[in-house]
């Protein structure tokens, strides 16, 4: 399992990522008890997945629409947003939409090509857990959360922009 930082500490990673092209039976056969399925599988087999003995989380690729999860956010313990390549910034918006527009309160996880130097921004967009590639030293990556002492904008983490606080 890749290393995980959750709520600012290095944590055990217990969720199994089920790839996009996996079908329902394959997904349910996964030996893990907690599985993250792609939104397309979730939308197609919501009932079957719910009826299985597994804990189900959903992951969104960068070209998926977070608004499509509008009716589900209350039921999901974890939603992951994928960064297929670090340059693809769409998942910053999907993360913010899940928190701001759909009031998702569960774990919001960044997966894929997550760079240490993006984690500060990700956190501001409401992401609270980070799956790190082997190349990243999780201990060192923790420092990313203090890259900046403050920010100007209204963000998921601090809805009041600096001009309302200065």
């Amino acid at each position: 399992m890749p290393a995980l930082i959750k709520d600012g500490t290095i944590s055990e990673n217990t969720w199994h990522l089920i790839s996009k092209d996996t079908d329902l039976s394959e997904a349910i056969e996964n030996r893990g008890n907690q599985i993250m399925v792609h939104i397309s599988l979730w939308q197609e087999h919501k009932d079957e997945l719910a009826a299985s003995s597994k804990n189900i989380a959903v992951w969104l690729d960068s070209d998926d629409d977070a608004y499509d999860l509008a009716s589900d956010v209350g039921d999901l313990p974890l939603i992951a947003v994928n960064f297929p390549v670090f340059k693809d910034g769409r998942s910053f918006s999907n993360a913010a939409i899940l928190r701001q527009r759909m009031s998702f309160k569960g774990e919001l996880r960044a997966i894929g090509d997550v760079l240490r130097d993006q984690m500060f921004y990700m956190k501001k967009c409401g992401i609270n857990s980070f799956e790190l590639s082997d190349a990243i030293d999780a201990e060192e990556a923790l420092a990313a959360f203090t890259d900046f002492a403050d920010n100007y904008q209204s963000t998921v983490e601090d809805p009041a922009p600096l001009f309302r606080r200065r």
Partner: protein
Amino acid sequence: MYIYDAYDKQMLEDRITQFRDQTRRFLAGELSEEQFLPLRLQNGLYIQRLAPMLRVAIPYGCLSSVQLRKLASIARDYDKGYAHFSTRQNIQYNWPVLEQVPELLAELADVEMHAIQTSGNCIRNTTTDQFAGVAVGEIEDSRPWCEIIRQWSTFHPEFAYLPRKFKIAVCGTPNDQAATQVHDIGLYIKKNAEGEIGFQVLVGGGLGRTPVIGAQICDFLPWKHLLTYLDAIMRVYNRFGRRDNKYKARIKILVKAIGADAFREKVEAEWQHDKDGQATLTEEEVNRCKGFFADPDYEEHIDKDASVETHAGTDLLFSHWLERNVTNHKKPGYRIVTLCLKETGVATGDLTDGQMDFVANLADKFSFGEVRVTHVQNLVLTDVRLKDLYELFQACKQESLATPYVGLLNDMVCCPGGDFCSLANAKSIPIAESIQRRFEDFERQKNIGDITLNISGCMNACGHHHVGNIGILGVDKKGAEFYQVTLGGSADRQTAIGKVLGPSFAQEDMPDVIEKIIDVYLNNREDGENFLNTYKRIGIEPYKESVYASAD
């Protein structure tokens, strides 16, 4: 000018610490070239043809004399004694050493300057009309609004990895010298019938490979909604802008693909959630920002000064300079003076460290210690007393800064081109110089009158060639450098994209080609008609006939 408080300073310090560590990790091999790329770009650092290039932000073109002196000392200490003012009101150093860049950035921070988001796929330096705050008939000073946008766009966590770069211009002057309509977002400040301030919002303008004039998506956005509306536009772009092809990734392609109406609907739908939310601007914040741009202590009752006319009568160059480089000011007794950085034989927009120090001293002596940078690569002293004009002119003459060309043919815009830039298809500086030499005679330029000539060394259009009355684009033809000419572009409130004249030309033919184009104009113009209006009246055909006739 805006002055940093503890928050602004802290953010800049944090950024330098962060970049110092990123540079260290890159040099230690912990970050790959590819991973370091967006990080260094968002700190203004390109790897160019000969060396790294560092682009330093000059927020909306405003500089203090202290800052300009720092830019001069950096040119001296980290570079080869000069720097280049770009068409985005920024300044570029062509020879810094990567290892020294964090140090250089720390020096910039001492004078509240930085290179943040001057490149990369993020929101770039916001630009505006260089006469903001002093223009006659101004609707509203754009500088406080630019500062509000600067803060909102700096380190915006959601929009640091956009499909492509993103440029915003704000204009509150009647003439628009900011090329507002060819920006990703163009904001015209307006007043409604009740006298309230708002913004006309244009999106999807831009130059580059696909030149487009921005489409209006909001006729009047009340000021307090500025940031929530910008957030909504950015979110729509970040989510739906194309990422599969970098040449189709700008917002203009998205707006064209779905149409301005559909784009507006998406923005409005997104905006409804945040409208009147926490990011809604407060009167307190706007007033705080406006406070930094209050008028300086202008003297009263100095409306008239006989010395100007006396000197103009005896000094021909001064009278030319008065006519071309000096503009009326909102305050009687004051003038706006443009220092033209277009001396023939000097790369357009380049200034030596000595000249920068010199201009800083002029600003202190004559213009309340402030300098503006224009997107046509000149410098401006905004607040010069009428009675100081002659002394200022004489001082400028000694440093080759009194060229009386403003708005004339030789006041051309030119990107660094193939001499420096690794993106360029062709050189642009030698083209500019060969044309300048041909038209060097001032009387000749004066007879031609108001005209804009813009040169870009490649499709990326840093020289804004599409919106020059005459545009020149460097193209690569089987390894040889050729130049395509467009006519009829303009970047003002009646923005137009130039039309291609025809097949491209060899470098050595360019002065002749431009001369023929000018001759067609001179032979066809009617009383008082400028180049652009003659073109609009007679169309492109007569120019084609003349330019291509001899080739048959």
